[in-house]
Symmetry: C2
Subunit: 198 residues, 2 copies
């Protein structure tokens, strides 16, 4: 198998980058850290940018995979929102998410090796989540808005959590969003925004 050694190497690279960060990555330093030589990285990935592309693609594939395992289990939007947050805020994912945001930052600066990432970082989520919300009974326009907002809430809260570590406060804000989103239930099938006037 040709891919096996290479994939194992890639896996070790990602693992190490999740620990120390990404930006000041040098082939030699990385190679030493994962117990190989920079010669091997060049051999398998061609160049530094080749490595970066494969790392970014792997992270993006994992993001997609994580999304695929996110299934409903409930009909209640509030419960769904809570489950969503509980899933993505799992401390085990923190290193991967730090790396994710680092790649995101590079993507915002248009680094060429982030092309695939840039295209999928939002679209890969809004599509499936919109579908999910539609299946849960939201009119499609509301579902699309809610999906985009939920994604933003998740990422924004994650940024907060990773920076401050203040889990209680961030969980609390997430809970508030889960409660607020209940307001959407009222709109099911009943489109015009409704001011509550008893």
């Amino acid at each position: 198998m040709s891919g096996t050694a290479k994939e194992a190497l890639l896996e070790r690279c990602v693992e190490h980058l999740q620990e120390v960060g990404f930006s000041d990555l040098s082939m030699r330093e990385l190679a030493a850290a994962i117990g190989t030589s920079h010669r091997m990285l060049h051999y398998h990935f061609g160049s530094r940018d080749g490595l970066l592309v494969e790392i970014v693609n792997l992270m993006e594939a994992r993001q997609r995979a994580a999304l695929a395992t996110l299934e409903a289990g409930t009909d209640d939007l509030t419960e769904l929102s809570r489950a969503f947050w509980k899933r993505v805020s799992d401390p085990v994912l923190a290193p991967a998410e730090r790396l994710f945001f680092e790649i995101y930052a590079h993507a915002l600066n248009g680094r060429p090796w982030t092309a695939g990432f840039r295209e999928s970082v939002v679209a890969a989520w809004t599509g499936p989540v919109t579908d999910m919300l539609t299946r849960h009974g939201l009119p499609s326009r509301e579902a699309a808005r809610a999906a985009r907002l939920s994604l933003a809430v998740g990422r924004g809260l994650l940024l907060d959590l990773l920076a401050t570590g203040d889990r209680a406060a961030v969980d609390d804000a997430a809970e508030l969003f889960a409660e607020l989103i209940t307001g959407l239930e009222a709109r099911r099938a009943r489109h015009p925004p409704r001011r509550d006037r008893p």
Copy 2:
């Protein structure tokens, strides 16, 4: 004046970094780009890390300043949320915000020159915004949650906007949040409102 030349230099550095990004910054390249020599950057900032610290601190100070100019003008939470989003999503700010998120990513990896940034990136906002919401009549617990959530929404949507450029869709999601937050108004009625009645 001692600080003037240095500050002008720093200003030009930030300006350039907002255009090309931050991560692969080298003293020589940056110096050439802003029309000076790397010798001058070392002279004024001592070292590369010294420069980074000053850049990050400047960005953080500007963030604080931007916050200070954010004033109420309305009593309605929904309108307040709209105004907030309109302010931060101004295209003029996009380069500064790209740089902001890049620094944020470095901060998540614990880079030592981001110490000040890390401490203030959330706290500098939640405090004042909580106060603002309290002044608008929210009970303090709700105000704190809403402030934290609003900050996350703003940053999450900004990430989306900067990556996709899909202003219509992101504005739409922001509008949904503005409408959802109306749900908080209902809670205000149930609690002793501390409205400023002359």
